[in-house]
Symmetry: C2
């Protein structure tokens, strides 16, 4: 493979049994190789690998790529072998790819150090191939090279494919970091089963943002079955999925769900221009196809304003009456013959009303296309917009290659075009956000004390006091008389009674809560009922009953929590619906700590954000207090002792502007 | 085109200028044609069409296909011409396709009556082609034939493509109805901009369900831009989109959003078996690809239970230690060489634990595939499951064609495989639901009286009394003293005060509502405040203030409405969140009338259905009362006078089981 792909350096086969191999001298051991060795390709049975690596290190080899399987992925004995490999790395400074890897393809240096059939000239790969702008870093070797195989069909050029294997030494982030520095690489595609370490994630993402090189990632583990498979396949920890989506979004890493999506987005970044916004013009020769594309784009956040009156008049001058000068601009198949498509494209691509123009047509007739190519060039030359095409017939490769050379990616379905364009617009928005970002919080983190165990409402309230979120006034009562006295002391206003229970027992579900009590009799009866209910439920001794003033009616209930992912670390959760947050599933997540701007973006992720931003009553909520509380919760999350799994305030009541927040219930969970 | 596609009947060119055309005798007028004519293809300028049609009718021609443009799609003059065409149809009984159509392809009879380049042998179409099982009925001619063009690339065979044009006579549903009777057609693909009439939609859908022939539809108009384009393109009415999704789901019409999705689903129905449920086994040779597919399927409602212990032991006997016998079953690339894939497939495809098995691998090496083909045949022969493959490399066409002949559709991405399989499972569920369905409600509809104009809360409450949903007791007060007296008469319990305003003014937003008033002073102050607010807002005279007992705390707030779509007719809306329903956007729709089973399915469509079905308090809601109320609302919707646009109860309060419902507010809107 190395020879066929044009590797120009020296190759030294090492094997004790042979003396010649494909015209090369074979050496019995790595120590016998005459020259300096940059990379050793190790393909010996697993038990022999450690010895070979020791030999490599002793011979001054700098890197080794272990193709052999039989390590952590194959049970306890293999795990032990892998630990020995790690030990060699740590001891000798040898850098290792794999084990259990499928190798590396790096055509810029003629390196095809893999046994993947996807690159085998015998199976049709045209080697040597020029290096292209797309890099793939994959934790699955099979898929990594399959991405190359499918991408080539779409006309993508690849500059690197790395199978990372078990990542005993070099990990996914190391390769991405290195490839970002390669001036020929413009976009990095990743397939991830799970990070082994993510401590450098922020730094690598920040570097990619500085270089404006998008990282496009498929990460499995969205489902329980996917997580199980990833864990069993790689032996790595796979955390909950939602925090990955949130972290990727925050760091500008584009998460995709399918290989088509990944390749379409890559094609956009290789070929197209980033749109400066989401104002889109659709120019079509088929009414139906144009409307379909408009639907697909509009559902991904694009607006389709009308062209200027002057542009509409211009277009109207050369299209038939049954066309449309609105948006979509439907010039009809008839106007194509007179060069109408290129003429309209030239106008729209220069119009300040639009950030992007998508041309819709049939890109199949090469003769016609070549005839109108000079007009197309002229239309594209002065464009201020991003451009893309959607061909509703299977397009000619000659046409799509020519379009690519003009900076126009061409897609074969409305979804594919819209999805790629939306990814490009989202990336442009991310870059703009980065540039405008507040400096990251980097003050020394306040470390919080250990809670000393799981905490129920009362203790959690005390633990969270430094957050500065008040609770309605209340007092613990140990008898019905005391409860009534507290009620009187609270001004005889409506109160809630809540069982004070150990740790995390759900008070409501055992009948330990009574709300809206307005008379002494009601308070007394509620106290009796609660003590009876708790006794019947058998959930442990009742330390007392909290008599608490009712919160004012009409506040908005949220959940606010600090949690910890085993890989990505601490994060903050905000959910709409208070007690109903689980049923509604409307939550937003962000890595901790958080900036005020990050909090606003987080709130915008909530489906029901309108409840917060545009209250029906017309009176604004105290969003300033909410923002401050979430930022403080982020600080708390970042400083939590490692045994704390979850700090949850639920409900957190948001009051009208100027009135702040109220903590109505809270709990702290720790690892057992 | 007709000749090249092997049309075996007689062709009579009609044109006054020529005498011979491509070896055929040309006749000066339709009346001069010697034999009976089944179909006239009309391609003359629009103004000449009506005369030609008159001639056709007089000559006994049965049908005409009008390719000419220049009718309703092109402005007032064209609309008039189209009205004349309609008149000819009505007067003479001539049946017409089009005008402004791209023609019809029906290879079973050798009919290629279209000018579409997609079927032109000059541009590579291999004519004549055998008739396949896929039919396309499209309101966009360009897209209809483009679907054929793209589908052929995926190996689909087409039995009909119909461009319906302006549908002056025959409409989309007519063609679908007719094609359902064609024994060679197994699946119908539709591209819809908007129905002109939908009165036969239920009947055609029911016929398709009886015949078990799926209808797969892309309907544009999901976005405002798409609706605008569809309206301007076809001149037809395009209603709101959500009711189309709901109606299609209810009637078993599969709605798709993209052409890839449409073709993938069609391929499944042409080739694959319907899964009896959603228990899925994934069998893979690449851990990463298998996990990715598992994710894609799990997110579409499939479960991935483990194989039986016996099957796991069997698989374990021939795979390496780093494989997995769980689900996904990862036999690894190594076990492929010993025939492990076919062996495992045979076990899993027979296992009673699974309804479907997806095989994941690289379907590119024809030599290897053909070698193992006998084993694959054996594995497939005894299968009780539905089968599909996902090839993570671009598959060989020979392999996919062979797989298709074995009943195995093969897809090229996790999303494409999962999406098609989910559509098949959903269709199987629909067919099962159909079989178990209660007989459709067909009793004479009760016609409701006209409301006589828009109705605010008080009047709407009276209008809706026959629904039998009680309201909290209350009385209208015209002075503060009267309000206090009413409060006293209601037992001095907490009350709400609500301005009684004309028609649809939003009471809350003008400060016309006060809740939870507990004392005479509070009631008096609230009355004064409301009258002052209403006066300040200038929203018309205040007829009084409703003094109403507060609803008991803790109920669940819903919205329940009856609305009317201009094309699909009356439907019912249920939304979660009461006043917040708009911000939450959690609504379910169904065509009216509704059966109790339909109501349950409707509630299951709500994102927050868990709030209804599994209340946090542990006490069940009165879902029986809710179901009955929604069924009654469906009867009301079906019997509403045509001027009523919207009947809305919001909030509708659901109380704990046995306690029924409470109507808290309502309004009726009519067309002006």
């Amino acid at each position: 493979m190395l020879q066929q792909h044009g590797f120009a350096g020296r190759l030294y086969p090492v094997n004790p049994k042979y003396q010649q191999l494909q015209g090369l001298t074979v050496y019995p051991a790595i120590g016998d190789v005459p020259g300096p060795v940059d990379l050793a390709l190790v393909a010996v049975p697993a038990p022999a690998v450690v010895g070979v690596l020791e030999g490599c290190a002793a011979a001054g080899v700098r890197c080794a790529l272990i193709l052999s399987s039989g390590f952590a992925e194959s049970g306890p004995a293999g795990q032990q072998l892998q630990a020995q490999v790690a030990d060699v790395c740590a001891r000798t400074g040898l850098r290792v790819n794999g084990p259990n890897a499928e190798g590396v393809y790096y055509p810029g240096a003629g390196v095809c150090a893999t046994f993947s059939p996807a690159l085998d000239p015998q199976h049709g790969f045209p080697a040597p191939a020029p290096a292209g702008p797309v890099a793939v870093v994959s934790q699955s070797g099979g898929l990594g090279f399959a991405i190359l195989n499918q991408g080539r069909e779409l006309g993508l050029g690849f500059g690197a494919v790395v199978s990372t294997g078990n990542e005993v030494d070099l990990g996914w982030l190391d390769y991405v970091d290195w490839l970002l520095d390669d001036p020929g690489i413009r976009v990095i595609l990743g397939f991830l089963e799970g990070f082994r370490r993510a401590d450098r994630l922020r730094a690598v993402a920040a570097k990619a943002a500085r270089l404006k090189k998008p990282i496009v990632v498929a990460k499995i583990g969205r489902s329980e079955a996917g997580r199980r498979a990833a864990a069993s396949h790689t032996g790595s920890l796979v955390g909950s999925d939602a925090i990955y989506s949130a972290a990727f979004a925050e760091l500008g890493i584009l998460r995709v769900d399918d290989v088509d999506e990944m390749l379409d987005v890559a094609a956009y970044f290789c070929v197209g221009r980033l749109p400066a916004g989401r104002r889109l013009a659709v120019l079509t020769t088929s009414g139906g196809a144009g409307a379909w594309l408009a639907d697909a784009c509009a559902s991904r956040g694009f607006s389709l304003p009308p062209p200027s009156p002057a542009d509409q008049a211009e277009v109207a001058s050369f299209i038939p009456a049954y066309g449309s000068t609105g948006n979509p601009v439907d010039i009809t198949a008839q106007a194509v013959f007179g060069g109408g498509f290129e003429r309209a494209l030239g106008r729209l691509a220069r119009a300040p009303e639009f950030d992007a123009v998508v041309g819709v047509g049939s890109m199949v007739r090469e003769d016609r296309f070549l005839q109108s190519l000079p007009d197309l060039r002229a239309a594209v030359d002065g464009a201020s917009s991003a451009l893309a095409f959607y061909s509703y017939t299977r397009p000619s490769r000659t046409i799509t290659d020519t379009l690519a050379s003009l900076g126009i990616p061409c897609y074969t379905s409305p979804l594919r075009a819209a999805r790629a364009l939306a990814a490009a617009a989202g990336y442009a928005e991310f870059l703009a956000r980065c540039a405008a970002l507040e400096p990251p919080i980097d003050q020394p983190r306040r470390l919080w004390p250990s809670p000393g165990g799981r905490l129920g409402e009362q203790a959690a309230r005390a633990y969270l006091e430094p957050l500065g979120i008040p609770s309605p006034p209340g007092c613990l009562a140990t008898s019905a008389d005391e409860a009534v006295a507290h009620w009187a002391a609270l001004g005889q206003r409506p109160v809630a009674l809540k069982a004070h229970l150990p740790s995390l027992v759900h008070k409501t579900e055992v009948g330990g809560v009574r709300l809206g009590l307005q008379t002494a009799e009601h308070v007394r009866a509620a106290f009796e009922a609660i003590t009876a209910n708790v006794e019947r439920a058998g959930v442990g001794p009742l330390a007392g009953v909290l008599v608490q003033q009712m919160a004012p009616p009409g506040g908005l209930e949220l959940l606010l929590a600090a949690r910890r992912d085993p890989i990505l670390g601490p994060f903050v959760v905000v959910g709409l619906g208070g007690e109903h947050v689980e049923a509604l599933g409307d939550v937003a997540l962000r890595l901790a700590p958080l900036t005020p701007a990050g909090v606003e973006a987080m709130l915008d992720d909530l489906r029901g954000v309108a409840l917060l931003r545009r209250p029906r009553s017309g009176r604004a909520w105290d969003l300033a207090a909410l923002n401050a509380a979430i930022v403080r919760m982020g600080e708390l999350a970042a400083g939590l002792p490692p045994e704390v799994l979850d700090v949850e305030i639920n409900p957190l009541l948001v009051l009208p502007a100027g009135q702040g927040l109220l903590l109505l219930d809270a709990a702290v969970d720790v690892a057992c």
